[in-house]
Symmetry: C2
Subunit: 239 residues, 2 copies
Amino acid sequence: MSSTTVASAADLSTRARIRDAAVLSFAGHGFGVGLRAIARDAGVSAALIVHHFGSKDGLRAACDEYVLGAIRDVKTDVVTGATVSSLFAQLVAMDDYAPLLGYALRSLQAGGDLARDFVDHFAADAEVYCAAGVAAGTMVPSRDEKARARYLTVMGFGALLLDLTLNPPQDPTDLKAVLHGYLERTGLPSVELFTHGLMTDNTMLDAYLLYIGDPPAAGSSGGPREPSPPTSATRESQP
Amino acid sequence: MSSTTVASAADLSTRARIRDAAVLSFAGHGFGVGLRAIARDAGVSAALIVHHFGSKDGLRAACDEYVLGAIRDVKTDVVTGATVSSLFAQLVAMDDYAPLLGYALRSLQAGGDLARDFVDHFAADAEVYCAAGVAAGTMVPSRDEKARARYLTVMGFGALLLDLTLNPPQDPTDLKAVLHGYLERTGLPSVELFTHGLMTDNTMLDAYLLYIGDPPAAGSSGGPREPSPPTSATRESQP
DNA sequence: CCCGCTTCTGAACGCGCGTTTAAGATACTG
DNA sequence: CAGTATCTTAAACGCGCGTTCAGAAGCGGG
C-alpha cells in the first residue's frame, strides 16, 4: 500500500482533503494558483492550509511526495508495458489517474526535484524494458543503453509537453482528450520512426561516431556488438 | 532586410535599447521578470517602458515581433541544413544569436502565438528538407510527410526544452554550454534512433496501422527489416 | 520671453499574493 | 465543571507587481 502517505491520524480528513484539492488545482491551473483558490476548492480558509503545511512550499512538497508515491504504486500495476509508445497507449486507458498525470506534467514543465525523480524513474523502467526487447531480439541494441533509455523518456515526455503547450486544450482537466489528440497527431510518425528510423544508410551515424572519437568499424569499447559496417549501405545484421 | 522592426524614427535609440534589454532579460530570467528589473538593465525608469509600449504585454508583443523577424532573417542564412540533428549542430556554432534562441525557448515553454509561429516555421522547413532527403534516397519516406516533419520538430524542441528544465544550467545566459551539454547527453541515442530506429521488425507498425484502419500491405512484416527501398517504391502500401 | 511638444522620472495607487496574528469553536481531559 | 490543546477563521500586514499621474527637463518655433 501507499507507503508514502504521511499516515498521521488527522490525514484522513481535513489535511488529506486540502492535499487532494491542491493536487487537483495545481494540475489544472499550474503552480501559480493562489492559496485562496485552493482553500475555496477544499472548503477551508487559506490560513488553515498554512497551519497544516507550514507554507505554500510545504503544501507543494506534500503534494510532490503524495503524487510520486501514488504514481509509483500505479506504475507497479502496469509495470510490464513501458515502451515510449505503448506507454502512452496505456495512459489513455486510465481516467482516475488523470490528476496524477496532470500534476506530473505541470511538474515537468516547472522543473524541480519531483520532475527529476519522475523521469529518473521512467528512464530506469525504459532501460529494463529496452534490455528485455534487445534480449528478445525485437529491439535494436544501442551502444549506450542507459543513454538511449533516458533519451527516449525525455523525448517522449518533452514532445508531449511541448505539443500540449502549443495546442492548449479548452478543458485542461480532461486529460483523456488531451492525450487522444496528441496520439492522433503524433502516433503514426512516432511508430514509423521507431520501426524504420529516418535515414536509409549509416553515413550520418558513422560521421557522428567518428566525430565523437568512437570510429564505427573499430569496434571500440562502446559497442556491445559490432553495430554496422560503414561500407554496407543498409543495416541487416541480426544475431 | 528586417521588415519587422517598427522603424519609427525614435526606434534607433531609447525604444530599441529598452526592447533589447527586455529580450535579454526575458531570455535569461523568463517572462515573469518585473518591469523594474528590465528598466534597470535598460537604464531607464519603469514608467518610460509603459510610455513607449503601452503595457507589459505591449512590450512582450514588440519583443515577439522583433525576435521572430530576427530569427527569420538568421534562418535564411542557414537555410540548407535543417535536419533535427544537424540543426542543433548548427545551433552550437552561433554565439551572437544566443539571446534570440533563449527568448524562443522561453516562448516555447510559455506557449502563445510566437511559439506556434516558431514551430510552424521550423516544421515547414523540416518538411522541405525531408522531401529533399526522400527524393535523394537518403531518407526513408513516410506515410504522412507533413505529420512527420511536425513530429520531428516538436520532438526535437520538446526534448531540448525538457532536458533544459531537468538540468538547469548555472548560467542561463551561456546557451552554448547548455546546447553542448544537451548534445553530449542525447547525441548518440538520437543519431542511432534516426538511422536504425528501435524495432527490428514491422509488427508494431503493422499493429498500429491496423488499429487506425489503414492496414499494411501483406508481407511487409515478418523477417529482418527491409527498410523501404527508395528505388522500388516510395511507399510499401498506398492507402 | 512664453508656448506647445515629446521625453522622462519619482511617487503613489490598487491589486493579489503568501503569511501572520489574535481570537473564536470544538473536543478531549482531569 | 474548568482546563487545555487542537482545529479553524476573519482580518490585517508587508511585499512586489503593473500601472497611473503630476510634473520636471530638454527643445524647436512664434
